[in-house]
Amino acid sequence: MKKGLVVLFIVLLSIGMLFASGTKESAKEAGPITLRMSWWGGDSRHTPTLEAMDLYHQKNSNVKLEGEYGGWDGYYQKLVTQIAGGTSADIMQIDQPWLNELSSKGDVFATLDASQVDLTQFDADFLKNYCTYNGQLKGLPTGTNVNTFLVDTKLLSDSGIDPNTIWTWENIISEGKKVHQKNASNYFSSATPDIIRFWFEVYIAQLAGAVVDGNKKVAFTEEQGTAAFTYFKKWFDEGIVAPFSQTSLFYQKFQENPDWINGKMASAWDWVSSMGKDIGNKQNIETRQFPVMTGAKNSGVLMRPSQIFVINNTSANKAEAIKFMNYLFVDPEGIAVLGTARGIPSTVIGRKILAEKNFISEMTEKATNEGIAQAGLPQSNYQMNSEVMQTMQDVIDEFGFGKLTPSQASAKMIKNLNATLANL
């Protein structure tokens, strides 16, 4: 009898384990609506977002909002795994390049239209260029994000450089080398290997228009590639940038390099949406415009949404999710609570409210305006593909470690890009 009870208990336990999630789902359906929202960021983003969710819940008591948030590392991998497993959140914050990458693999995101959202609040070209896939609007841009060039005015002055210098490709070398000459442990640029790739893309964009065009073709010639690599070789030779052996450890995290934190590096390529975090407690940082060569085909300065909010196409509560998105994007209360947690808002009303409340810092406004004024053509989806970026990065790593000459690097990058593009 006793043994029988034990066996019965184990069977029930096993069945319970099997159907545990099913029971939870049933309970969910019977109760109030639960909306899950996922995003990445730091505390400056988490806190206001959670506050906005709380306020929305107070006004809509039947809607329970659950936040799934964390840092950038691993967010995309988790998101894709959740989408594949059918467990992704109802509302998801994504990076702009992912919109095409994921939409091309299936009908992952819900299509939005003017009957659901007041699209007049957004710049039509911005929506068209960055938030549509196959002509369908798939998400809403949280804010306007642009590249910015940060300089440490004190370190420049201390190195004998005019901190108000207007930067050109030439004087980055002729003036920039003074930083390292003055003190051998200081450098003009804080660029890590991944940031050198961004600089390379800017240079090639100005020379040739793009690295990879919208027709899935490498857009620069071997000569143009050689010219770009020859230029960046001077960055290493003249001590503009620290050797890769010192910076590769901070791949994708230049802001964690103690030399940047401690004011030993005088400039940084950055995104406006990240610059607050990247500057941290550093003083004397100002924004400048990027160098542009005479006759440039494209400035190479990127402008795109800070992030995009999309709605899960398999969500059972799409209408409620859209309602909450409207709260975040066009409701004065939602806008005020979120502030600049995701950059300068991309809606007319958002910018108006934050400007009235003096929420937009002078530096953010200046960097954004300068970036918009300089912004070039958007990069093709192929250039933003993860494998294409990795292909470029691998060659730049070899070049930066001195394993390839400029001409070898150019030839290898074109060859490898062609191979990668053929398999996409």
């Binding site: 043994k3 066996v7 184990i10 069977v11 336990l13 096993s14 384990m17 099997l18 991998q77 894709v80 795994t81 989408i83 594949a84 994921l102 693999k105 299936g106 992952v108 290997p193 050797p243 890769f244 052996s245 010192q246 910076t247 590769s248 450890l249 791949y251 994708q252 103690p258 030399d259 993860s386 494998e387 990795q390 691998d394 790593d397 070899e398 470690f401 394993k403 191979a419």
Partner: protein, 294 residues
């Protein structure tokens, strides 16, 4: 006979919770990954059968496969023998009858409790970075600092140290093994005039050889699958010098979403581990001594 069958049935019921977990969370994904390795599955969307193309790609058109494989072999060759040797040396020291020995046994086991976690990897990064504690300590004694993690020739060795540092579990097994060696063997050897080194080579090591075998196999399997330090500390760099197989597998599956190719890579890794494990077992016949054969 009937009674025996009844008990067998009950046995399966007792292990049912584990069995279900194993079948659903391990066995089914295992079979799935085998199937996916013959497809172009990209995580989202359908999987299309492409025969042996994924396996062909590895050996014909993916240079990172051979690079990653060679890095992994180097890593196994560095980390496994060093860890076992280090664990053995510490076990021999901690086997002495000295005051407060239990405190030291606990102390040396702590790194293993911490495990190969992300936190430890981050700690390692800050210890060995250019401006890190190691270089600062070296500069105090006048030795110039090194790019421990930035120099392609040093990075793999540096991240191997994370594994070697976590020698606690191997050490405990050696310690347990040392306790099992009959004291009479040592007494007899000493009476016959054997020195300490001779006793170690002729008695201690042969008596411990089954434990060496166990540690070797377990550590080898773990080392082939290593992921965390390469992912957290160096992200496979510099110049892919720490691009371990586990990291490549992850990149293909979760960065490029080539889940079919990633599955094929994991089956090749399985075959490699199976081969070296079998080889080690086979070779053990000539160097492992069990008590009755000494």
């Amino acid at each position: 006979m009937l009674k025996h069958k009844k008990y067998s049935f009950e046995g399966y019921l007792y292990i049912l919770p584990w069995l279900l977990g194993f079948l659903l969370l391990q066995f089914v994904p295992l079979i799935n990954s085998f199937w996916y390795s013959f497809t172009d599955f990209q995580l989202l969307g359908d999987a299309k059968f492409i025969g042996l193309q994924n396996y062909k790609k590895m050996f014909v058109s993916d240079p990172t496969f051979l690079k990653s494989l060679s890095v992994t072999f180097y890593y196994v060759l560095i980390a496994v023998p060093c860890k076992i040797a280090f664990a053995l040396v510490i076990a021999l020291i901690l086997n002495q009858r000295i005051r407060g020995i239990n405190f030291f046994r606990t102390l040396y086991y702590i790194p293993s409790i911490l495990g190969g976690s992300v936190a430890i990897s981050v700690l390692w990064k800050y210890l060995f970075m250019n401006q890190g504690i190691i270089n600062n300590l070296l500069s105090v004694v006048g030795i110039p600092g090194q790019d421990w993690l930035g120099n392609p020739n040093l990075a793999l060795g540096t991240i191997s140290l994370v594994t070697v540092w976590q020698f606690g579990s191997s050490m405990l097994l050696f310690l347990a093994g040392l306790k099992q060696i009959p004291e009479c063997l040592y007494e007899a050897a000493r009476i016959d005039g054997a020195g300490k080194m001779k006793i170690f080579w002729k008695i201690t090591l042969p008596e411990l050889s089954p434990i060496v075998l166990f540690n070797l196999i377990m550590q080898m399997i773990n080392a082939f699958q290593e992921f965390t330090p390469a992912f957290v500390i160096t992200q496979g760099g510099p110049l892919k010098s720490t691009y371990l197989y586990g990291l490549m597998l992850y990149d293909q599956g979760f960065k490029f979403f080539k889940m079919g190719y990633s599955s094929a890579l994991s089956w090749i890794l399985f075959a490699i581990i199976l081969f070296f494990t079998s080889l080690t077992f086979k070779s053990s016949q000539s160097w492992v001594h069990y008590g009755d054969t000494l």
